[in-house]
């Protein structure tokens, strides 16, 4: 009780800070310099219709690279954490088999979901969605497979190769930008094409696709690692 109360007092202080922020908040009526630049220049500079995607992949591409790296780290560390001191050779409890319906449903759904994921990230520069969303969708296919067959083991090697190659492609496209365009991660290493088409916006669709693959692979890797654990 004392603890709750003191936490409450502290949060009152934080709340005061937030209140000050909220009361001092005045919505912009015009876009600020940065946003205006993006609104005006995105189409001509990057050829992407989805400005958010252009910012994420190109203008703030370094952040995205960092973000992908965050996931990469998380996946790697989840693996490390779960592997540390892990005793091998214990048999897992036999679990009741999943229902027939689920198994069939999974078989039907998984390809569809995979397709959806790919669609989401390939069109990331045109419509809402992109590598992260698509990647998460890919991972959910994985999830379904896991639900269908809890004892299923995944090819860690395949996942690892997908995540490595997509990471390398991301970095590689970035380096190409240094040599053939205006700087690291500049998407103009490829022709910008026509605004609104799938094959446009230079390297954005390619990068976003590999981001998608990578994100999907990272999440899958985490899931695979978690599913390899035993119930305690």
């Amino acid at each position: 009780m004392v603890k709750s109360f003191s936490v409450l007092v502290l949060l009152l202080g934080i709340g005061a800070m937030f209140a000050a922020l909220l009361l001092g908040y005045v919505p912009d009526s015009e876009l600020n310099q940065t946003a205006r630049y993006y609104a005006d220049k995105t189409a001509s500079e990057t050829g992407a219709a989805n400005i958010v995607a252009a910012i994420v992949v190109t203008y703030r591409g370094l952040d995205t690279l960092g973000e992908v790296t965050v996931l990469f780290l998380s996946a790697a560390i989840v693996g490390l954490v779960l592997a540390s001191g892990h005793q091998q050779g214990k048999m897992r409890h036999a679990q009741p088999p999943s229902g027939e319906l689920l198994v069939i449903g999974v078989r039907l759904l998984v390809p569809l979901i995979l397709l959806l994921g790919v669609y989401v990230f390939i069109n990331g520069h045109l419509t809402p969605g992109g590598g992260f969303q698509g990647g998460a969708i890919l991972a959910s296919a994985m999830l379904l497979l896991l639900l269908g067959d809890p004892l299923r083991t995944f090819s860690h090697k395949l996942i690892a190769i997908v995540e490595s190659i997509s990471g390398l492609v991301f970095v590689g496209m970035g380096i190409l930008g240094i040599f053939y365009a205006g700087g690291f991660l500049d998407n103009r290493v490829l022709p910008l094409g026509t605004l609104g088409e799938v094959f446009s916006a230079g390297a954005i669709p390619i990068i976003y696709s590999f981001v998608g693959l990578k994100v999907g692979a990272e999440f899958s890797s985490m899931l695979a690692n978690l599913s390899g654990t035993e119930e305690l």
């Binding site: 994420v56 998380s74 978690l226």
Partner: protein, 118 residues
């Protein structure tokens, strides 16, 4: 609308922090943190919102020429995307830690993991 969303975001942060600081169960703490994270994201999105404008996507309705007058600030959205992904990365990591901590001591009480102190 932005005000309401922002206020909600702040409240969610406070709720999340309160939960994280008062629940001793590690899993509940992590859940509370995700609530706080959602609150942060909500605040960020709300801050970029401008009344009467549309999403920062160029299409038939919004041409590149008039974009500056029609769309809302895209930057906070880009930031939130990053924040969400980082958030889930950290959450996954904490969950893996949770499993391992539980394996070690068979408890999820945070107050039991104090062998390092002073």
């Amino acid at each position: 609308m932005a005000y309401i969303a922002m206020a909600t975001g702040f409240i969610l942060i406070l709720i999340g922090l309160f939960g994280a600081l008062t629940n001793r169960n590690i899993l509940r703490m992590i859940v509370a943190f995700t609530v706080a994270d959602t609150g942060v994201n909500m605040v960020i999105v709300a801050i970029g919102y401008m009344h009467g404008r549309t999403a920062p996507i160029l299409d038939v309705a919004v041409s590149a020429a008039e974009a500056a007058a029609r769309i809302i600030d895209p930057v906070p959205q880009a930031l939130v995307l990053t924040a969400i992904v980082i958030g889930v990365g950290v959450t996954a990591l904490m969950l893996a830690y949770t499993y391992k901590l539980y394996e070690k001591k068979r408890t999820l009480d945070i107050a039991q993991f104090t062998e390092l102190k002073w």
